[in-house]
């Protein structure tokens, strides 16, 4: 188990990229800024399952994003949010 690069509460930006292989980041989340909701375990990297077994494993996080940041004219409160699982290599620290 490696040391997690990010910790709970830290602000992160999800990378905006589209590798030409199966990956587990939906387009609506790409480029978004959120905070780490929790640090999860180590799992095979989805992009690496196309050839091989996904190793080396990557750290997984749950990232919380305000709904009003995700969607123009979101119909709800400013406290509504969405939580999504993102692997470490898709995250960078955000201001």
């Amino acid at each position: 188990m490696n040391t997690p690069r990010f910790s709970t509460g830290q602000r992160v930006r999800i990378a905006d990229r589209t590798p030409p292989v199966h990956h587990r980041v939906p387009s609506y989340a790409k480029g978004q800024v959120g905070v780490i909701e929790r640090v999860c375990g180590m799992h095979g990297e989805p992009e690496k399952f196309i050839r091989g077994n996904g190793m080396p494993a990557q750290r997984l996080y749950r990232v919380k994003i305000p709904q009003t940041d995700l969607w123009d004219s979101y119909d709800g409160t400013e406290r509504d949010d969405l939580e999504i699982e993102i692997f470490e290599h898709w995250l960078e620290p955000a201001e």
Binding site: R24, V25, P26, Y28, A29, C40, G41, H43, P46, L60, R62, Q67, L70, W71, Y74, D75, G76, T77, R79, D80, D81, L82, E83, I84, E85, I86, F87
Partner: protein, 206 residues
């Protein structure tokens, strides 16, 4: 095709309809090849299928009732869902298990926008609407409207939290225990818990 000796009767589910699409035929062919190549056996496959078919929302209801009756267990369940699940005699390895608690001011709802991830080995097969493109695309964008269509009408003093199951976690909502059920038996309490309340498309149990 005379020299292969694997047992077809073991590689097909007897009640499974004949494939009607190319994709389904490719899927079945792949499965036979994997078994022939020795990656797993037909018997191992049957064990997994039987476990999934044997699971039902009643399993989730048992976990919910235990959490309602035992505050220390509830704390462990919310902190580390996987361990608390094993403690209750269930397991959804290799996935992580994450339980989200509904409160007076929070409502949780679960979706998998990328496919249809669902804790099948705990809750059984997912409902058809959970796998529909409509639910998957809309509940992230307009959760309050989708929930209202399910009969869950939320005021602004209730925050909505959508959980997109995009990778290795599987989710269950811990619904609120209805008032006036303090002296109910475990069986009576379990009878309140529905599949939809564990996904978050139902809020009030009755």
């Amino acid at each position: 095709m005379t020299d292969h000796d694997h047992d077809h009767s073991k590689t097909f589910q007897p009640d499974h309809p004949e494939p009607t699409t190319d994709a389904a035929r490719v899927g079945l062919a792949l499965r036979e090849l994997l078994i022939e190549a020795g990656h797993y056996t037909a018997d191992e496959e049957q064990v997994v299928i039987a476990a999934m078919q044997g699971a039902s929302p009643e399993n989730g209801a048992k976990v919910v009732v235990r959490a309602w009756k035992d505050p220390a267990y509830k704390e462990r369940l919310l902190e580390n869902g996987g361990e608390a699940l094993r403690e209750a005699g269930f397991d959804i390895e290799p996935y992580e298990f994450t339980v989200m608690e509904n409160t007076e001011h929070v409502h949780n709802v679960i979706v998998c926008t990328l496919c249809s991830c669902y804790p099948r080995s705990l809750l059984g097969m997912s409902p058809a609407w959970y796998k529909s493109k409509s639910y998957r695309s809309r509940v992230v964008r307009e959760p309050r409207k989708v929930l209202a269509e399910f009969g869950v009408n939320l005021n602004d003093d209730v925050d909505v939290k959508v959980h997109d199951s995009t990778a290795e976690c599987r989710y269950m909502v811990l619904p609120q225990r209805p008032a006036g059920t303090d002296d109910w038996s475990e069986g009576e309490l379990a009878g309140l818990v529905t599949r939809d309340s564990l996904i978050g498309t139902q809020r009030d149990l009755q």
